[in-house]
């Protein structure tokens, strides 16, 4: 970090100043840096908050954070947004999470639903080690962790006839998007391992042309979906099911029963209406991504 700052002093100073002005905290300190097979893993500590990120780029959007003083609190916005998927499935007995990150989602869901079986798929063994070392992530009787490609796991799960009540897709970390996890065929395979009242919650892209293509892909496979966005996060969460979407009134009823359980995690679920939208705000002419046509990384740059 210090050598980079020296070489790009003006930019670094500007960013530092912005960070200090905006958050009022001290400068982030990199406490662990590792080049794994699949990405660069960076851990930075800022005050009592420790964050995992997968890129050295400053505009890095996807990370997992933990407040050491208040470990339950979900610091990072998108994790809170993903939990709003529970409104459509408030009592999941089986959960699949594709992409471990810091392990905040499986750990939190395990605390909220100690009876639920949770399968976590992570392609990068180094990410699992980092989650265990710095984020207290643990596999246990309920949480199984598979170091595997998400697509391969999903296909095998379908062959075994396994089904999940809640599937969370959170595999898009860092600079490279795994393109085979964004296609209509993959979503079809995901839909195939969803129970009748199962819900898919996907952490996706809010910017660039990819937003249009991805929206079109989800629309093609699942039909309508809830688009969850927030001013505090550059992420967009898609929440959908294999069936028609419930009404806002139905969700409000669920929200009032879920709220007490989620309060400890700083998820104000009763406020979900501010973030939920079913408005078609993407270019409906955008071509859905398929195994035949999946230039997600190129589309993101355009």
């Amino acid at each position: 970090m210090s050598s980079t700052s020296c070489r790009r002093l003006p930019a670094a100073l500007l960013i530092m100043t912005m960070v200090i002005v905006l958050s009022g905290t001290t400068q982030a300190r990199i406490i662990h840096k590792e080049r794994s097979l699949y990405s660069t893993i960076l851990l930075d500590k800022q005050g009592s908050t420790i964050c995992l990120q997968f890129s050295v780029r400053q505009d890095q959007r996807n990370q997992s954070c933990k407040d050491l003083k208040n470990p339950k609190k979900l610091v990072f916005g998108y994790a809170r947004m993903m939990l709003t998927g529970l409104l459509l499935q408030p009592d999941p007995k089986s959960i699949l999470i594709v992409g471990l990150g810091g392990g905040t989602l499986p750990t939190t869901l395990n605390e909220i639903y100690p009876e639920a079986r949770i399968d976590v798929i992570e392609i990068d063994p180094a990410v699992v080690t980092v989650a265990e070392t710095y984020f207290d992530f643990r596999s246990n009787d309920q949480i199984r962790t598979f170091v595997q490609d998400g697509r391969v796991f999903t296909k095998r799960a379908a062959m075994r006839g396994e089904e999940y009540d809640l599937i969370m897709l959170d595999a898009f970390n860092g600079d490279y998007i795994p393109e085979h996890l964004m296609t209509a065929e993959y979503l079809d395979e995901t839909k195939a391992i969803l129970t009748d009242d199962g819900v898919v919650v996907a952490n996706t892209f809010a910017i660039s042309r990819l937003y249009d293509h991805e929206s079109a892909t989800y629309q093609a496979v699942f039909g309508d979906f809830f688009n969850v966005t927030s001013r505090e996060s550059a992420n967009r969460i898609i929440i959908t099911t294999g069936r028609p979407l419930p009404s806002i009134a139905q969700l409000e009823e669920v929200a009032s029963t879920l709220a007490p359980r989620l309060r400890a995690y700083d998820v104000r679920i009763q406020d979900f209406r501010r973030q939920f939208s079913t408005e078609v705000d993407w270019d409906t002419n955008a071509r859905p991504l398929t195994d035949q046509y999946a230039p997600a990384n190129l589309l993101r740059e355009e």
Partner: protein, 201 residues
């Protein structure tokens, strides 16, 4: 006439690398994009090319001609095109039988890519035979051939990964590669007819 042979070697190199890059995209839905999937593909391509060099050299011993050179391209096209239809069922078959995605991807890329790539590998040594007239210039000609075929490989890699996947579906690109090989086969055959004795010594 030499220019045509260099052009053919260039196209051969282009198709090889374009196909190799597409290989990763073809396998990903069944075997993922883990590092060993690329390992499988590169292994199979290197293995096939090495065999192709042997066979191409051997073939060049028997009455070498542009006509026969063209047939190599046609055969490569015939072996490449079925990927459009059979890649899916082949991968499904392998996926169902081999649990470990390392060996699954190795076997699948073997079945899918060994044959067309062996034939494409025959192009280089065969071109050397068509161009070399004396031992003293053989090194220079081989050098030029590697230049054109490897330049083709570089451009095939670039064009496919930067543009083709953005413009076309995978199967469309495979079809275009097939059509290009057929066209090159025809070019070689026409060149042979214009100068029927030009290349045999």
């Amino acid at each position: 006439m030499a220019l045509i042979i260099y052009l053919l070697a260039f196209v051969g190199g282009f198709v090889i690398m374009s196909l190799e890059l597409l290989g990763g995209r073809v396998l990903a839905p069944y075997f993922g994009s883990s590092i060993y999937v690329w390992g499988s593909i590169i292994t199979i391509f290197m293995l096939s090319l090495s065999l192709g060099y042997l066979f191409g050299g051997k073939l060049s011993l028997h009455r070498p001609s542009l006509q026969r050179f063209g047939v190599i391209f046609i055969v490569a096209a015939v072996l490449l095109y079925p990927l459009v239809y059979f890649a899916e069922p082949v991968m499904l078959l392998v996926f169902e039988r081999i649990e470990d995605p390392r060996y699954g991807s190795l076997v699948a890329s073997g079945i899918l890519f060994i044959l067309p790539t062996i034939i494409l590998g025959m192009i280089s040594p065969y071109s050397v035979r068509l161009l070399v007239e004396s031992t003293h210039q053989s090194g220079q000609i081989a050098g030029r051939l590697y230049f054109f075929s490897t330049l083709g490989s570089a451009l095939g890699t670039l064009a496919t990964s930067f543009y083709f996947v953005l413009w076309f579906e995978i199967n469309t690109i495979l079809t275009l590669l097939t059509a290009t090989l057929v066209l090159m086969g025809i070019v070689a055959s026409i060149a042979h007819k214009i100068r029927p004795h030009g290349e045999s010594h």
